[in-house]
């Protein structure tokens, strides 16, 4: 039985679910919950970005732009216009997906550094708009966002809920919600990768010429994955806005985009669970290094550089390879 489990396509997802279930035993206070909830939301964003960067091999240095757009769409629709949360989230994702499609069509013709520059510019433009449209976004001062609300239920980090006779705090409810969202995001990503569409995406990375001569419309698939990863970012941006209760244009900033990319590279490009690990490590790092806050960006740069040099495949793939090598050696020694 253990064997069939180990070979199961979804074993990673099951392990992740178990970790998320066990984790609260180690979370002492609301701050811990807040951190882990943020991690889950960011991890889901990065899982989406990894589809674009890790699998299809197209770099985006402006993904925080789409995250920020999602956050602000939700903030403005629910806060200023009083929309319910779910329609705001869905419409926001559709709008951002459409924007990504429009923007992606011309820039995805570019390759390598040129594509990086173009996506960087897209991110900057979005951040500038969010900064300058004071009437709509509140400018650099940011704007408050109402609590997430579903079917008349309000999910607030400061609330208290009773579910089947068990009382849970608002931050715990958010943790559960974010965990479920992360699991669904990962499940979708895994399904996408192991499908004809996923193969076409990976072939764009592996060899665009090979892909095109067997009938893959590479331009179409690049657009598709760009839109999908932007929708991931938008949805998570919306949830992030609700969770934080307050957003500033920093959510769309260049620094945030770089953070996303660093998570992908550190965790392991093209490894769905690797990039989650990347998100966890890079969210934890500022906590661990709280005394050296001014050095945070230096640290990120250093991590990116060292990863590229010493483990170009990323943290999780390198670890897995190391462990399986050790195990093989051990098995060989016993035999």
């Amino acid at each position: 039985m253990l064997n069939t489990f180990m070979q199961s396509r979804l074993r990673g997802l099951i392990v992740l679910a178990l970790i998320l279930i066990i984790l609260p035993a180690f979370l002492g206070n609301p701050f811990h919950y807040e951190l882990v909830t943020q991690m889950a939301i960011i991890a889901a964003t990065v899982v989406g970005l990894n589809l674009l960067v890790g699998f299809a091999g197209q770099i985006s240095l402006g993904h925080a732009g789409f995250f920020g757009l999602g956050a602000y769409f939700t903030g403005i629709a629910t806060g200023t216009y009083g929309w319910p949360s779910v329609p705001a989230l869905v419409v926001g994702a559709i709008v951002v997906g459409f924007i990504a499609w429009i923007v992606g069509r011309p820039i995805l013709r570019l390759k390598g550094h040129y594509l990086s520059m173009a996506t960087l510019a897209v991110g900057f433009i979005i951040a500038i708009i969010l900064n300058n449209e004071r009437a709509l976004t509140g400018g650099p001062d940011g704007m408050p966002v109402p609590a997430f609300e579903i079917f008349g239920w309000e999910l607030s980090a400061f609330g208290r809920y009773s579910l089947f006779g068990i009382t849970i705090e608002g931050f715990q409810a958010w943790y559960i919600f974010a965990s479920v969202v992360l699991l669904v995001a990962v499940w979708f990503a895994l399904n996408l990768i192991e499908s004809p569409i996923g193969r076409a995406l990976r072939s764009v990375h592996g060899s665009e010429v090979a892909a095109s001569v067997v009938g893959v419309n590479t331009a179409k698939y690049k657009s598709l994955v760009f839109v999908i990863s932007a929708i991931y970012a938008s949805l998570m941006g919306s949830l992030y806005a609700h969770f934080q209760g307050f957003i500033t244009p920093a959510v769309a900033s260049f620094e945030f985009s770089i953070l996303f990319i660093t998570m992908v590279v550190l965790g392991g490009m093209g490894s769905t669970f690797g990039v989650i690990l990347g998100a966890v490590v890079l969210k934890l790092l500022p906590q661990v290094l709280a005394d050296f806050q001014e050095l945070e960006h230096v640290m990120f740069g250093l991590i990116l550089m060292l990863t590229m040099i010493f483990m170009p495949k990323g943290l999780l793939p390198t670890l897995t390879a190391f462990v399986s090598k050790k195990m093989r050696k051990k098995a060989g020694g016993e035999a």
């Binding site: 979708f188 399904n191 996408l192 192991e194 499908s195 004809p196 569409i197 996923g198 193969r199 076409a200 990976r202 072939s203 990375h205 592996g206 060899s207 010429v209 090979a210 892909a211 095109s212 001569v213 067997v214 009938g215 893959v216 419309n217 590479t218 598709l224 093209g270």
Partner: protein
């Protein structure tokens, strides 16, 4: 009988250099049609033009009577044309069998919704595609590598894998660009059998190859290029006796 592939007055210039100049020929369905010529004669350029990777400077290519002028490589694949490359194009980020399954791309249309929820129809189609890919890998002789990473395979096995991928697309015409390059005598003999098997099953084969023994043995017709121009065209017997070919190429 109409030609499957017809090339009329094809011209391709890179700057001032005419890599292919005034080339015309036609390939009938079911033939093994080879293009030979010295290095730099324009053979690969000709293949790149036919498969839509290059745009001709002048001239026209017809596939099944339809002009291919505005078609992208993937649209040509939809119309039944597939190829392999002299510089192999294998997706090294995938396993061997995934590379072959990629060849089934056109037969495996599934919606995004079906994909995201991994509905039973997708699972069935994937299982069938995997089975077919495994058969093809067996057929071309790299059945031992099914779940190997492509990056871990030998050169000869990768060459066969590329043919399997092209066959997976069930093409009407398959273009093989120097499939025997870098293969030893045993592997070349196996390749010859394979090409013959492919042709016997009704797939038209176009071949660029330097190995004269291989080419003369399996071709129905040959096209000899020299400096981008057609030097001769005909059956292997005609080519062998053509004085121009003997002078320029066979070194008689």
């Amino acid at each position: 009988m109409t030609a499957l592939v017809e090339v009329k007055g094809l011209d391709k210039a890179f700057g001032g250099v005419h890599a292919v100049e005034g080339v015309s020929f036609s390939v009938e369905a079911g033939q093994v049609y080879s293009v030979i010529g010295p290095n730099g004669a324009g053979k690969t350029t000709l293949f790149n033009l036919i498969t839509g990777l290059y745009t001709p400077t002048k001239g026209e290519i017809l596939l099944n009577g339809e002009s291919t002028a505005k078609l992208e490589p993937n649209e040509l694949a939809e119309r039944g044309m597939c190829r392999t490359f002299q510089q192999m194009q294998i997706c090294m980020n995938m396993t061997a069998i995934e590379n072959v399954m990629l060849g089934r791309h056109l037969q495996l249309k599934s919606s995004l919704f079906t994909t995201l929820f991994r509905l039973p129809s997708l699972r069935r189609n994937e299982a069938a595609a995997r089975k077919r890919a495994a058969e093809l890998m067996e057929y071309v002789g790299c059945g031992d590598y099914l779940d190997a990473e492509a990056s871990a395979m030998s050169y000869g096995a990768l060459k066969r894998l590329e043919i399997a991928r092209a066959l997976a697309a069930e093409p009407k015409v398959i273009l093989l660009d120097e499939p025997a390059a870098g293969l030893n005598a045993v592997e070349t003999a196996a390749l010859e059998d394979l090409i013959r098997k492919i042709a016997d099953q009704g797939t038209t084969v176009m071949l660029v190859e330097h190995d004269m023994k291989l080419v003369m043995g399996i071709s129905d017709r040959l096209l000899v290029l020299n400096y981008g121009r057609v030097l001769a065209e005909g059956t292997p017997e005609e080519i062998r006796q053509n004085p121009d070919v003997i002078a320029a190429y066979l070194g008689g």
